[in-house]
């Protein structure tokens, strides 16, 4: 358990460092995600017992973390409600743009993807 948490933190740390050193616009955790994914894909070939054990641990810790993502949004989310006055007189217009823009994007992207996805092997 602790070794997998260490790995996840380590990859985020590397991601943050890469972001700072290369001055990228991509946030550190997203770089960490890409690096961890690459490492996992590359390590597929090695079925040493230690690596396999670590992977099993990593999968169970990561799935728990991912499961609680909604909880981790709350502290910032509360800030949004407390700072809604930032939008002042534009609130109605901004809300309209968000709702309308999001609905169009959801609908068209979903439709396109539904048409393009190959049918077999899904699920």
């Amino acid at each position: 358990m602790l070794n997998s948490i260490f790995l996840i933190f380590l990859f985020q740390l590397i991601g943050e460092l890469v972001q700072k050193v290369l001055e990228l616009n991509i946030p550190g955790p997203v770089i960490g995600l890409i690096l961890l994914l690459t490492t996992l894909l590359l390590s597929k070939k090695y079925d040493h017992k230690l690596i396999q054990n670590l992977k099993v641990n990593l999968i169970s810790s990561a799935e728990k973390l991912v499961h609680y993502i909604p909880l981790f949004f709350l502290p910032v989310g509360v800030g949004v409600v407390m700072h809604l006055s930032f939008l002042e007189g534009s609130l109605a217009k901004v809300l309209f743009i968000i709702v309308f823009g999001t609905l169009i994007t959801l609908a068209l992207t979903g439709l396109l993807m539904e048409k393009l996805l190959k049918n077999k092997d899904l699920k």
């Binding site: 955790p29 991912v66 993502i69 981790f72 509360v78 700072h83 217009k93 968000i98 999001t102 959801l106």
Partner: protein, 241 residues
């Protein structure tokens, strides 16, 4: 009998400690998640939206500064980073399925991201919004840290972008299911991908709670649209100015 003076001093003590705010945050989430599960995952009862409402109402009615709350709740906020890294695991487990559909993913990614940016820009021009607000609005569909980074780079106001981005996430997560049902979309992968691309992490959370494949495709959608958007928005802004 505890006198009022003592009660007040206990309250002052609690406010200054993270424990109270952490307990409040987790408790509110448990209540909201319970309601969401009981309602058979009804999208309008999104647990993020409901718990934000509960906590905000408590803070507002007791007249508590947000900064004070965040001082304690930041320990929960911290876990958002590791949880983002952890998204590598569900993607890894479904890697073959993603590669198999890479063409569908890339075409939908480019067109979807373009639609998200252009509808936002078009409508802001139509409403004659001030320039700073427009620049804060454009990156709204990608994950909050990327959106804030882009906003800062192009001359928007990052904290305003954070607010707009979070509202986008909640709108997408609560209304997405109705849009997909209306369009009669049946493939969970398509619904998930669209949710992740349009409404980032909160969209992923909604997709994950419904279906594993939807969740994975949502994570892929958020990751890729975040990368693509951080490249094209600065170019787009150069073009229009």
């Amino acid at each position: 009998m505890i006198d009022q003076q003592k009660l007040y001093s206990i309250w002052v003590y609690l406010q200054a400690e993270p424990l109270f705010w952490l307990t409040l945050t987790i408790g509110s989430y448990l209540i909201a998640d319970y309601i969401y599960k009981k309602s058979n995952l009804f999208p309008l009862l999104n647990p993020v939206a409901i718990s934000i409402l509960i906590i905000s109402l408590i803070l507002l009615s007791f007249n508590i500064q947000y900064e004070r709350y965040f001082e304690g709740a930041k320990f929960i906020h911290f876990l958002l980073g590791p949880a983002t890294v952890a998204l590598a695991i569900p993607i890894y487990k479904k890697w073959d399925l993603i590669i198999y559909n890479s063409k569908a993913i890339f075409i939908s990614l480019f067109i979807g991201s373009f639609i998200a940016i252009s509808t936002t820009y078009g409508l802001s021009i139509y409403f004659e919004l001030p320039k700073e607000l427009i620049l804060s609005l454009i990156p709204r569909s990608v994950t909050t840290p990327i959106a804030m980074g882009i906003s800062e780079l192009i001359g928007g106001i990052p904290s305003l972008t954070a607010i707009i981005t979070l509202i986008t996430g909640i709108i997408g997560a609560t209304l997405g299911t109705f849009v997909f049902d209306f369009m009669k979309l049946r493939k969970m992968e398509a619904r998930g991908f669209s949710m992740g691309l349009s409404s980032h992490g909160i969209g992923i959370a909604r997709a994950m709670s419904k279906d594993k494949n939807a969740g994975v495709f949502a994570a892929v959608g958020m990751g890729l649209s975040g990368l693509l958007t951080s490249i094209i928005i600065p170019l787009f802004v150069k073009l229009i100015s």
